[in-house]
């Protein structure tokens, strides 16, 4: 754990994996050998590209293995594009972990639906790892994964290994004839998944419009709004609820979130002003 939440700690890139054309994964180790790191599934770090700035990136590794620290990053802005060209041995700053976590304890004894779109699989991969490590504590587990195209999918090899233990349903928005999987939006997968709506916890992460429509479908399927969880994204700066950049209604996404219940967030999902 980092004592001063505003002070970055230096981490070195031990390994870098290219996931697709714009997404990559860093495996990070602290420069100071005595620094350990623990986190809960769903939490994020502020990653600092020296001289450029910080970005909030969810932790995407196994929370039961403290190191290396794993982050999957999509290059979409100046900081993440600068990180994309970093290589093994390069150093970045890390502040964290911050924020709330996915309800893996609440889900015990229940069916679990994990619904992700695009890079949204990265913040929920710690949950998948946790569920796989504690399979006996849960009923049916389904991962519903939507991607733009087959080539945009991330963690492709891992997805195949997960299929041995949990239901993994994947769909893409567009494709050519080389793809023999599902084509269509991720909401289509909800009706294909097997779950008891009265005894299910759903966790979802992806573009807000995707979560909005998944929320409608999950509600219509009979899952209680208190048992639907989602991860929200806003422009975070301080990550500790001081600066107000990520304020949404009465909540700071960095401090009170990023994981919220659907019940807490549904009022904002279709509010144009926010």
């Amino acid at each position: 754990m980092i004592i001063d939440p505003m002070l970055p700690t230096q981490f070195s890139i031990k390994r870098k994996v290219i996931e697709n054309h714009d997404t990559f994964t860093f495996f990070l180790e602290p420069i100071e050998p005595n620094n350990s790191f623990s986190f809960l599934p769903g939490q994020f770090n502020m990653l600092y590209s020296f001289g450029l700035g910080e970005v909030a990136i969810s932790i995407s590794g196994d929370c039961e293995k403290s190191l290396p620290l794993v982050h999957t990053i999509r290059a979409v802005g100046s900081v993440t594009n600068a990180m994309k060209v970093l290589k093994k041995g390069d150093v970045i700053g890390v502040r964290g972990p911050f924020g709330s976590s996915w309800p893996v304890d609440l889900a015990k004894g229940k069916d679990v639906l994990v619904i992700v779109g695009g890079i949204g699989l990265a913040p929920l991969r710690p949950v998948i790892y946790y569920l796989l490590n504690h399979l006996n504590d849960y009923n049916r587990i389904s991962l519903l994964y939507g991607a733009r195209t087959p080539e945009d999918r991330i963690y492709i090899k891992e997805l195949e290994t997960w299929k041995d233990k949990i239901d993994v349903l994947t769909t893409v928005d567009r494709t050519t004839k080389r793809w023999h999987g599902n084509v269509g939006v991720v909401t289509n997968l909800i009706k294909k998944a097997k779950f008891d709506p009265k005894n299910t916890v759903a966790m979802m992460c992806g573009p807000e419009v995707m979560m909005r429509f998944c929320g409608y479908n999950l509600r219509d399927a009979g899952i209680s709004q208190q048992n639907i969880f989602l991860s929200m994204e806003r422009n975070m700066k301080c990550a500790i609820g001081f600066c107000g950049h990520c304020q949404l209604g009465g909540s700071f996404i960095c401090k009170d979130g990023p994981v919220f219940t659907y019940e807490e967030m549904k009022q904002y999902l279709d509010l144009r002003e926010v």
């Binding site: 979409v76 779109g117 733009r148 494709t175 050519t176 793809w179 269509g184």
Partner: protein, 154 residues
């Protein structure tokens, strides 16, 4: 022993909860079919005279684009319905449908069923409601697909 298709129809989500007397009428227009991977089930521009309740397998609904090839719009699997153009004039397919995985289905004769719907108006209304729901779901899904929600916002 020949098994009637009635219980199979009754279990399919499209006909779930339908009055038994209507099911007995519909079953007269139904038959079992199988398709091999790669086979075309529907062809754009041809007469739409059948629809399919998929029991097993996977079918892609495609549109052919010159110089690009076939683009898949969506896929249908067990429990889903393939084809609604049989119900709406001019009764012509607007897309191709090709088998991705060997498929078992119930084929329903659209012409036969249209005739029955004229004869039994209440059944026709019930079927129209059920197909409208499928059409709306597909339309909404296509609208979401068009949003390209996973694309980068600049």
């Amino acid at each position: 022993m020949i098994q009637t298709l009635e219980p199979i129809l009754a279990e399919h989500p499209l006909f779930e909860g339908l009055e038994p007397q209507y099911l007995s009428i519909i079953v007269g227009c139904a038959k079992n079919v199988r398709f091999k991977e790669g086979e075309f089930v529907l062809r754009e521009g041809r007469e739409a005279d059948t629809f399919y309740l998929i029991r097993e397998g996977k079918i892609s609904v495609d549109i052919y684009v010159p110089n690009i090839g076939a683009l898949t719009i969506h896929t249908v699997e067990a429990g889903e319905v393939l084809g609604w153009s049989w119900l709406i004039s001019p009764y012509r397919w607007h897309f191709d449908a090709q088998v991705l995985k060997d498929t078992r289905a119930i084929a329903l004769d659209g012409k036969c069923l249209r005739g029955k719907c004229e004869e039994y108006k209440e059944m026709g209304y019930e079927l129209m409601k059920r197909f409208s729901s499928i059409i709306v779901q597909r339309l909404q899904a296509t609208q979401l697909q068009l949003l390209d929600v996973y694309g980068v916002r600049r």
